[in-house]
């Protein structure tokens, strides 16, 4: 019941945002809002993987970047974005499946998992940064090295390449994608698969003794999270363009901060955390003497020390723990 209520509430909020914001905001602010929505999708993907799968992935930015690059390269090559969108989901999912196979079937512990996901991000960051020059192209798309691909095409109407979507419509698409991801995550957690994932997070050994193949479930939720991060990358590529910074440690760190501050083990918390913290960093960027990194870092340290459960769950007075079915800690 609670879950259905939350989904309905999310639909109402999303519809309100889709209706109101394009009327209130100017074009520039609306594009910024689209970026924040793509970040919210990214936060949701880590909320699922870390908060419910119990997998601390330091490399969610890798899947974000892969999604963006896959979208840009596919869209340029096909000269149509209809098929580029599934490619943007499939490439990160495949990479995550391969990496997850190495990690989960090798039974690597938490810290080592952190090291490996971090390393993957770093490899990709270094690699993409070094792809300047004409010899680095996939089909018709030059990878562009440090500069990225400024000519990343925006989405067009499905099957109609000559008709690109205006920024207002891309905002609607982004909000709709966020809503879909939220509902999908909710339904996944309600399903048998999701319940087993939460059981594994709570006690891996016990779940294993009950006869579940832990490796398979972890691989599943990790891959799902990667596809979602790829979608976020695709949306981001639509409002800005793809560049190597998408793979940077700064992004990887930020995603973890959003989830941590928003509340580990909730879905809506990280979404709100991502949007609020992005507003905060944008605002901090306009201050003359303050570096946004300083603020983000201090926020993370304080969050870990004072409210390890996350700011939003602490504010709502532990409501999260009472929710049946959400499996919140």
């Amino acid at each position: 019941m609670r879950s259905a209520f939350e989904i309905i509430a999310a639909i109402i909020v999303a519809l309100a945002a889709m209706f109101m914001l394009p009327r209130i905001l100017e074009l520039f602010a609306l594009i910024n809002a689209t970026v924040y929505v793509s970040m919210a999708v990214l936060a949701l993907s880590l909320a699922l993987v870390w908060g419910f799968g119990g997998i601390l992935c330091f490399g969610q930015a890798a899947f974000f970047g892969l999604g963006g690059y896959a979208y840009a390269v596919a869209a340029i090559n096909f000269a149509d974005t209809t098929l580029a969108v599934p490619v943007a989901l499939a490439v990160p999912a495949l990479v995550a499946a391969a990496l997850g196979y190495v990690m989960f079937f090798g039974r690597i512990s938490d810290v080592y998992m952190g090291a490996i996901t971090l390393t993957l991000t770093l490899i990709l960051f270094n690699f993409v940064n070094s792809t300047a020059g004409d010899q680095w192209r996939i089909g018709a798309a030059p990878l562009g090295g440090f500069n990225g691909i400024p000519a990343t095409p925006p989405l067009n109407f499905p099957g109609d390449p000559g008709n690109p979507l205006p920024p207002e419509t891309i905002f609607l698409v982004a909000v709709f994608a966020l809503l879909l991801c939220y509902i999908l995550a909710k339904l996944t957690l309600r399903s048998r698969f999701g319940r087993i994932c939460v059981a594994i997070r709570e006690n891996e050994r016990r779940a294993e003794l009950l006869g579940y193949d832990v490796r398979f479930y972890k691989l599943g939720i990790f891959t799902l999270g990667a596809a979602m991060a790829g979608l976020a990358g695709m949306l981001f590529a639509n409002c800005v363009f793809v560049s190597p910074t998408m793979f940077s440690l700064f992004y990887s760190g930020q995603i973890i901060i959003w989830v941590m501050v928003g509340g580990l083990g909730t879905l809506i918390g990280p979404v709100i955390g991502a949007i609020l913290l992005n507003l905060l960093t944008t605002w901090a960027g306009t201050l003359p003497d303050i570096n946004p990194s300083l603020i983000l870092g201090v926020v993370l340290v304080l969050a870990v020390l004072m409210v390890p459960k996350g700011v939003l769950p602490s504010l709502t007075g532990g409501l999260g723990r009472l929710r049946p079915g959400s499996g919140a800690r």
Partner: protein, 288 residues
């Protein structure tokens, strides 16, 4: 013949750099099971401490070898007191908190010193290997690495402080029952690890250049080296930096510096699949 010597020298200096920049992290991880993700920023602070005191007119060797470790050691002591102490036994939380610290330090230093590259040129000039010239400072780095390896080993193996440290590492409760205060041991260990990071930062500064973000290019390599090394901190870090440093330098010669790094990281991932407990999980188990 000369080219082999020259390449061999480069490989050795690559290994030495990796070892120097990983040692502080390894000691903190090996003794306290704390992953200090602000390690890269401790390197950066060490480099700044050296460069600023050298500009203030201090002898450059004094600035690098004395001031940098002292300053960062004190910073480590403060950080342990304010952050790390509250999070013992919560490994993931320490990683997150130190990551936050890392971002905050980058931001703070950028605000104070600006986002520009400061640098000082490598002292000591160069020497010849046959037809090739090599930097004498790189030779100094190799000796510094050897000196640091044996220095830490001697302290841990032959001094009473080292004995207490090893005892606390093996069984903190038993050490406490015998009259040792584990918190104090941890505080000193963290400060010592930080001081080594500061020293490392000052040592690599002539090659790397000094910018607020210089730490980010070392932290991941140091992290993966320590993890690949496994439980025994000295033997593990040494064997891992030997292996990974060699792979990375050979890769750099064969292709480009970027692919050298990519190859090194790929080797580390494969190694962790084969040896999930790191190198010393299987070999050199009884080493320090």
């Amino acid at each position: 013949m000369d080219i082999f010597l020259a390449v061999g020298f480069q490989v050795l200096s690559g290994i030495a750099t990796l070892f120097i920049t990983s040692l502080g992290l390894a000691i903190i991880f090996g003794m306290m099971r704390v992953i200090n993700l602000a390690h890269g920023e401790f390197l950066m602070l060490g480099a700044y401490a050296a460069i600023l005191s050298a500009r203030a007119g201090l002898n450059i060797w004094l600035a690098m070898l004395v001031v940098a470790p002292l300053v960062v050691g004190v910073i480590g002591l403060i950080v342990e007191r304010l952050i790390i102490r509250r999070l013992y036994g919560r490994m993931i939380d320490t990683m997150l908190a130190t990551w936050g610290l890392s971002l905050a330090l980058i931001g703070a230093v950028t605000m104070i010193f600006g986002n520009t590259v400061a640098g000082f040129s490598a002292p000591l000039g160069s020497f010849a290997i046959g037809g090739f010239t090599a930097s004498a400072y790189a030779l100094f780095l190799i000796f510094a690495a050897i000196f640091m390896l044996f220095g830490v080993w001697i302290v841990l193996r032959f001094t009473s402080a080292g004995l207490i440290a090893r005892g606390t590492m093996q069984n903190a409760e038993m050490a406490a029952a015998l009259g040792v205060a584990p918190e104090r041991v941890y505080a000193v260990t963290f400060a010592a690890g930080s001081a080594l990071s500061g020293l490392a930062g000052a040592l690599i500064a002539p090659f790397s250049g000094v910018v607020p973000t210089m730490g980010t290019s070392y932290i991941a390599k140091a992290f993966i080296t320590v993890i690949t090394g496994g439980a025994a901190m000295l033997a593990g870090t040494f064997s891992a930096s030997f292996l990974l440093g060699a792979v990375s330098t050979f890769g750099t010669f064969a292709t480009t510096p970027v692919f050298g790094e990519v190859m090194m990281l790929a080797v580390a991932i494969v190694l962790l699949r084969l040896l999930p407990q790191g190198i010393t999980g299987r070999f050199f188990r009884r080493a320090l």
